[in-house]
Symmetry: C2
Subunit: 268 residues, 2 copies
Amino acid sequence: MVDLTESKIEVLSTVSVVNEKNESVDVALVEERPLTIYVDKKEVLTLMTMGCFPELLILGYLKNQTFFKELDDIQSLQVDWQTNAVAVISSRNAPNIEKLKERVTVTSGCGQGTMFGNVLDSLKGTRLTQTTIKQSRIYFLLQFLGKYNTVYKSAGAVHSCALCKDNEVLFFVEDVGRHNAVDTIAGFMWLNDVKADGCIFYTTGWLTSEMVIKVAQMGVSILLSRSGATKMGLDVAQQVGVTLIARAKGRHFQVLSGVENILFDELP
Amino acid sequence: MVDLTESKIEVLSTVSVVNEKNESVDVALVEERPLTIYVDKKEVLTLMTMGCFPELLILGYLKNQTFFKELDDIQSLQVDWQTNAVAVISSRNAPNIEKLKERVTVTSGCGQGTMFGNVLDSLKGTRLTQTTIKQSRIYFLLQFLGKYNTVYKSAGAVHSCALCKDNEVLFFVEDVGRHNAVDTIAGFMWLNDVKADGCIFYTTGWLTSEMVIKVAQMGVSILLSRSGATKMGLDVAQQVGVTLIARAKGRHFQVLSGVENILFDELP
């Protein structure tokens, strides 16, 4: 059982700006903070985050980057906002940090991050279990999710991601980096042993290869985005069996792969 | 004089998708390709890029990441899309790759990238030369730039950045990663010895700390964005003297720092 205490920190600041009428107005800005990960006292890297659910973010990051396979491999994880550091102590199977850090890929798209070289390899041969989704459920979730993005509504500058099942939102997170939001959901699933079967992943961000890879790593086979996709995002989705639905907004959407999994039960 | 041959590659693909009416339609998707940088045969890292102006992107990346100080430090730069690699050969002052790679920061916000630890240090004590900008010029540029974003209009999933001076757009670029677009403009300025004085930097992306740092590194003191800012983006702007204008769209904008440099000559 990983020893983990949840830390809390303000995610918004109010500042005074001048608008086009030369009037002072107060606006909310999203915080962006460095958080340096140390595993067994070795520096791994620094993430920039808004600071919501930092423990889940780091858990998900370490899992997605293949630093740890089992939750029990981690003894403790402690975020310290005084020093902007997170100390992770392994209990067994200590990762080889130097080897993992050797190859770094700067990924693309809106809200991109870094992937260590071994992540792409880890998906070789993966074929996700297929799930069907009704068009009416897509519409229900799109409308339902509109109530969640409170930071975006007040300050912008964040992406949202959500994990949904049936008509329920299991977890919702916003962050300045979209990859952070995805990693936070991975951490949530890992810590709470949430099964990916039948889950739907929603994001406001572009469906780049990184996005599809991360969602496939979690075992989620339906990926729904408000935004568009890249060609490589589509290629990866076809390869691993992710049903890719882009430009989902209002009554519109585009199915890029896995159209056989969509039940068109509410044609406009 | 750096030896550099410009490579060309397709940046869009057409694929068939199924829309909400269960109809097949053709849509354009942006390409996203890995490009691995080797400096003096040592692997530095892999960027994911749409592939427009890859030589300028790599030049700007290496400059912004402080791998090279002078253009003459680089003997040649060759992009090879067969192997998705770019070979950079130094002519003198070969960078210490291992040392530069030691500390990596995954930056946040929409279209984020990676910064090596020494980048933040390199700005210490920087205070940019201030430039004034008329409100009427902001409006002119916003309208003018609307004609440039051709990839975004056909495929979405990209950010645009532009370098402007007076009423002119000196350079315009779109990429899947916003940081790539910024680095490409840095490469353009470096290769063509464009002076930053009086320049205005425009981006469609969020004004995160990374964005402000990169623009300050280029010496540009006016940063204009269609999107919002983070608190840390504002903090850096105030520290180095960047006039930060966010949410610039139509007739609206918000001046977050450097309001004394704005001439309100076209109040709505």
